[in-house]
């Protein structure tokens, strides 16, 4: 009987895991293992690209490609109802898809990502824009195109969320755009953040805070969004602050997948308790269930980079086990991501569990690196060549 490796989710983590695993298996072993990705959507999205859509720097169609084209030969992709997992039984090691078919698995990888839950903040859906989906990014682009000056409030409604640097990056790019359009002097920009600095990691907050100040962006820390009043164009914080706005661009509240929650393997917000190093799901250590990427409760950024590095560890662990060897790979919290600071400059955040980032001074060099990643993501990341 073939060994069944089931990967739920065809984002960067699921795709890297599948591609790396099939590359790591050789000869006869490769013929006896079925690797299946279950993914509702047929298109794979380079999510960091959404940041640029509101500024018309990227068109949405350039940041999506068919998932099937990103997979090595031999990987099975189930999408649509065939790829939508509706329930899971960890005792019988089976999952059921929306077409009613039950599938057996020997290894299960949760690569289910994170989802926007705007309903968690009163008034968010009607009152705030964001760029954490294609639809939302397009709608925000239309509003920015029509913007003629006023008050823009940017920032974060709650932590954790995908791509932690993105709210800062958006704010810097917004400042750039308004200056180019001659609208900056007619616009106040306010950046709100839930904790007592502008970013969770201190070294990054220390880099970003002076840039915000230099650009004339007003910062409100310890601003935990309590309620949004769309009719009054007012956002209030738990700490008692109120801000009026003409345009509100807050990162939406996030949760993990509904499937993880419904299966009882996650916490109340859908994040999956995951071993920091083996990436096995806690409580299911002997059941061959792993979690990677945004779906986990790991203390690292919810980013494609983390999902990528985690996917490689899981793929190599499974490959080792299938070869009868002790797994030799562990995840040490590695993340590499960029921080666009506007004016064609960026910094890079390179860190792991033990080593916080020491972001270099923003420069054109790192901006060009980010630009290159945006361009060559498809050739470098999903194929799992690094």
């Amino acid at each position: 009987m073939h060994t069944q490796v089931a990967i739920i989710g065809g984002g960067v983590g699921g795709t890297v895991t599948a591609n790396r695993l099939i590359k790591s298996l050789h000869g006869e072993r490769r013929q006896t293992v079925d690797i299946t990705i279950y993914e509702t959507k047929r298109m794979h999205t380079y999510q960091p690209g959404w940041l640029y859509v509101p500024f018309s720097q990227f068109r949405p169609m350039t940041i999506t490609r068919p998932e099937v084209r990103l997979l090595h030969e031999g990987i099975i992709l189930k999408s649509g109802t065939e790829g939508t997992v509706t329930s899971l039984d960890t005792n019988t090691k089976t999952l059921v898809t929306a077409d009613g078919i039950s599938h057996r698995y020997d290894y299960l990888i949760f690569a289910t990502g994170a989802r926007n839950v705007p309903e968690e903040v009163a008034g968010y859906a009607e009152g705030s824009d964001h760029f954490y989906s294609e639809e939302a990014a397009r709608a925000l682009r239309a509003k920015l195109d029509a913007f003629e000056g006023g008050v823009i409030v940017t920032g974060v409604s709650s932590i954790p969320h995908r791509c932690p640097p993105a709210p800062l990056e958006f704010t810097f790019l917004l400042d750039d755009m308004l200056r180019k359009q001659g609208l900056r002097e007619k616009t106040e920009i306010h950046y709100v953040y839930p904790i007592n600095r502008v970013f969770p990691i201190e070294s990054v907050a220390e880099l970003a805070a002076p840039i915000l100040e230099e650009r004339g962006i007003q910062v409100h820390t310890f601003f935990n969004v309590d309620e949004i009043h769309p009719e009054k164009k007012l956002v209030t914080s738990l700490e008692g602050e109120e801000l009026s706005y003409d345009l509100l661009v807050l990162t939406p509240p996030h949760q993990g997948s509904a499937l993880a929650k419904q299966s009882g393997i996650s916490d109340a917000d859908g994040w999956i308790p995951t071993d920091h190093h083996t990436l096995r799901v806690k409580g299911y250590e002997d059941a061959n269930i792993f979690a990677i990427g945004d779906s986990t409760d790991l203390p690292v950024s919810k980013s494609g980079a983390a999902a990528h590095f985690e996917g490689i560890v899981v793929a190599e662990t499974i490959a080792d086990e299938l070869r009868g060897r002790a797994p030799a790979h562990t995840y040490e919290g590695r993340v590499v991501c960029f921080l666009e600071t506007g004016r064609n400059q960026a910094s890079i955040l390179w860190f792991d569990y033990k080593h916080p980032p020491k972001p270099p001074k923003p420069s054109l060099f790192w901006h060009l690196d980010k630009t290159a990643l945006n361009r060559f993501y498809w050739e470098i990341i999903p194929p799992a060549i690094a």
């Binding site: 709650s158 932590i159 954790p160 839930p194 904790i195 007592n196 969770p200 310890f222 935990n224 309590d226 738990l238 700490e239 008692g240 203390p299």
Partner: protein, 82 residues
């Protein structure tokens, strides 16, 4: 001795700003006057939590030191003056 509270959150194993965010999330569902405790093993919480409690206008009733570097922060939600 530990102070009894209306809601207890175990944020051990969660790193900065995790315990603070757990406290903030947990306090949203409290009525004025109710109490909440958060357990944290993260050293940063000793700085962050008292500052946030003051900013929010709540009361920090106790910081109870427990074993293995764990601290229990006991907070009371206070009605905001309008």
């Amino acid at each position: 001795m530990t102070l009894p509270v209306d809601r207890e959150i175990d944020a051990r194993g969660s790193h900065c700003p995790g315990p603070l965010m757990e406290l903030i999330r947990g306090s949203k569902s409290l009525a004025d006057g109710q109490t909440i405790a958060v357990l944290s093993a993260d050293a940063g919480s000793k700085k962050d939590i008292p500052i946030w409690v003051e900013k929010a206008g709540y009361k920090l009733l106790a910081v109870e030191e427990q074993e293995n570097g764990v601290a229990r922060f006991v907070v009371q939600k206070v009605a905001r003056k309008s």
